[in-house]
């Protein structure tokens, strides 16, 4: 049987003013339904490029992504993206931002059903109280929550998260990570998340995909995170196995893939 999500021999070459640039080379990955996968690597290694190819926002030069056995062509709501800087439309309220997605994906449902669905998704991220606010009136963490609600409301086959918490302070980030774990436990989403935060990757993921440095970046190693769920960050802080896994990621990033002079 075909994999749920599969990346096959993906490579991409960008044409720049100074000739062509080989960004990714031979990316192969199989993801099962309901799995939480993190892609980690140094900045500039092309992890966001991988995500954009799966999202359909970029076209791979070679290889392709298969979702439920079908080749990914162009973007679509079945591969909803949570963007790094929330990307809420500032002229719409929180409710309207989610509504834009829901109307598009569930145009056949009645108005009342769609309204319930929008509020349901806002409740999932604990943002129902701010439904009439505009993005300019809420904090960065709240915006990102709404961005997640918007993506979830599309009922995507796979949820793509591009450094979703990168722009947030540490405390807000921890809060949102907990929310994402809760939601994923409840809904069983398949998630592909880009991150550069080792703790975040270990806490949230079933597997961590570690990428080598570019140019021609590829998957260096895949680490299984066999920590039992539900996970609790305070418990994990005392768990030697957690520290061992964390150490393995750190070793990959800082010994085997020394950061190039930035």
């Amino acid at each position: 049987m075909a994999q749920y999500l599969e990346l096959q021999k993906i490579g991409i070459t960008f044409k720049t003013a100074r000739g062509s640039f080989r960004a990714l080379d031979d990316i192969n990955l199989k993801v099962e339904k309901g799995e939480f996968i993190s892609l980690i690597g140094h900045s500039g290694c092309g992890k966001s490029t991988v995500l954009n190819i799966v999202a359909g926002l970029l076209n791979a030069t070679e290889g392709f992504a298969l979702l439920k056995g079908k080749e990914v062509k162009g973007p679509g709501p079945e591969r909803a993206v949570v963007f790094q800087n929330h990307s809420l439309l500032p002229w719409l309220t929180v409710y309207e931002n989610v509504q834009l997605a829901v109307n598009k994906v569930m145009g056949d449902k009645t108005k009342a059903e769609r309204k319930d669905w929008i509020m349901h998704n806002l409740k999932l991220v604990h943002m129902e109280h701010a439904s009439d606010k505009r993005p300019g009136e809420i904090s960065g963490g709240m915006k990102q929550r709404v961005g997640i609600a918007r993506a979830l409301s599309m009922e995507p086959d796979v949820l793509l998260m591009d450094e979703p918490f990168g722009a947030l302070d540490a405390l807000t980030r921890a809060h949102l990570q907990d929310s994402v774990m809760e939601i994923q436990a409840e809904l069983g989403n398949t998630v592909l998340m880009i991150t550069h935060d080792v703790d975040e990757a270990v806490l949230l993921s079933d597997r961590i995909v570690m990428m080598t440095n570019g140019p021609a970046a590829t998957i260096g190693e895949i680490l299984d995170i066999d920590l039992p769920r539900p996970r609790e960050r305070l418990q994990l802080a005392k768990d030697p196995h957690y520290h061992q896994l964390r150490g393995q990621v750190l070793e990959f990033l800082y010994q085997r893939q020394m950061r190039p002079a930035a």
Binding site: L89, P90, R134
Partner: protein
């Protein structure tokens, strides 16, 4: 206590209002604060005093500037140019002119209110036409690199030309004064509208477009839900700029075309050697300009999501 700082009665009232609004817990609205409410207030008094000072300075300093201008005017009038009317003569004349703004003694003798309305009518017509043409053109330019390539050189060449240079062409084509003046305003307004709209479309963050493609919005939905609202702040800014310039240009255009209009009236009064009228006209033109800009400011508040 604050009476030391304030001399103007009206400002004092304004302050009292802010005071009561700020301290609802301690004073009933409308009741002036009294010394008996001391306990809760001692902490508040200092910032209040600061604020009152701010309000007073905001009123007093412009008033002072105004007095300086009057003094300079009187000085020039007595020492350099005795042909100028004195400020008080001008004030008397202004009262006369403004007493009956809408008198109508035939087409060659209309009140200043009519003159102003005619000018405003031309500005609105030219401005509206420019919006109808310029904003869609700006959108096309912003969305298609080839349309941009095609139009940009023309815009760049024509934009620095004084709109008044087009007046003879207008007169030649339309063979009438009124459409020619409207044409000049149209030319005045169209460049900022085209360029601002195009800039606005090009400045739309890639993120918004990514959202649109993930949602698979159709071209029409994309324009309506994303391009249009995202560009609106730029469009309104372009409209505000062009309206300001249009109001300057119409005065000059009417001086040349004659007939009716505030610019014509000003020039006509110069031919009558009625200098007080000219000064009154300058003041009226200035105040109308502020009002127009204020209206565009309100429109901006309403439509521009960055200003809400």
């Amino acid at each position: 206590m604050h009476a030391q700082v304030i001399r103007l009665e009206s400002t004092k009232e304004k302050m009292e209002e802010t005071n009561t609004a700020e301290s609802v817990e301690t004073a009933y609205p409308g009741t002036p604060e009294t010394e008996t409410q001391e306990p809760a207030k001692s902490a508040k008094r200092e910032p209040n005093r600061e604020r009152n000072r701010g309000v007073a300075l905001r009123v007093l300093l412009p008033f002072f500037t105004f007095l300086m201008v009057l003094a300079l005017w009187s000085f020039v009038q007595t020492k350099i140019a005795p042909e100028l009317p004195t400020p008080s003569q001008t004030w008397e004349h202004a009262k006369e002119v403004l007493a009956h703004p809408f008198y109508d003694k035939g087409p060659n003798d209309l009140g200043i209110g009519w003159q102003l309305l005619y000018s405003l009518g031309r500005v609105v017509a030219g401005f509206g036409l420019a919006a109808l043409v310029g904003i869609p053109l700006g959108f096309l330019m912003g969305m298609s690199i080839n349309i941009q390539r095609a139009i940009t050189p023309l815009v760049q060449i024509l934009r620095p030309v004084s709109p008044l240079a087009w007046l003879p062409i207008g007169l030649l084509v339309f063979k009438a004064v009124n459409p020619s003046a409207i044409f000049v305003i149209f030319i005045t307004c169209i460049w900022p509208m085209i360029l601002n709209t195009a800039t606005g479309v090009k400045a739309i963050p890639q993120d918004y477009l990514n959202v649109a493609s993930v949602l698979k919005l159709s071209k029409l939905e994309l324009a309506r839900r994303i391009l249009f609202p995202a560009t609106l702040p730029y469009v309104v800014t372009g409209m505000r700029l062009s309206l300001g310039v249009a109001w300057m240009v119409i005065v000059a255009a009417e001086m040349l075309t004659g007939g009716i209009g505030i610019g014509f009236w000003l020039w006509d009064e110069w031919n009558n050697l009625s200098v007080p009228s000219i000064i009154v006209a300058i003041a009226i033109i200035g105040i109308t300009g502020i009002v127009l800009d204020g209206i565009m400011g309100l429109v901006q508040m309403r439509l521009d999501y960055t200003k809400r």
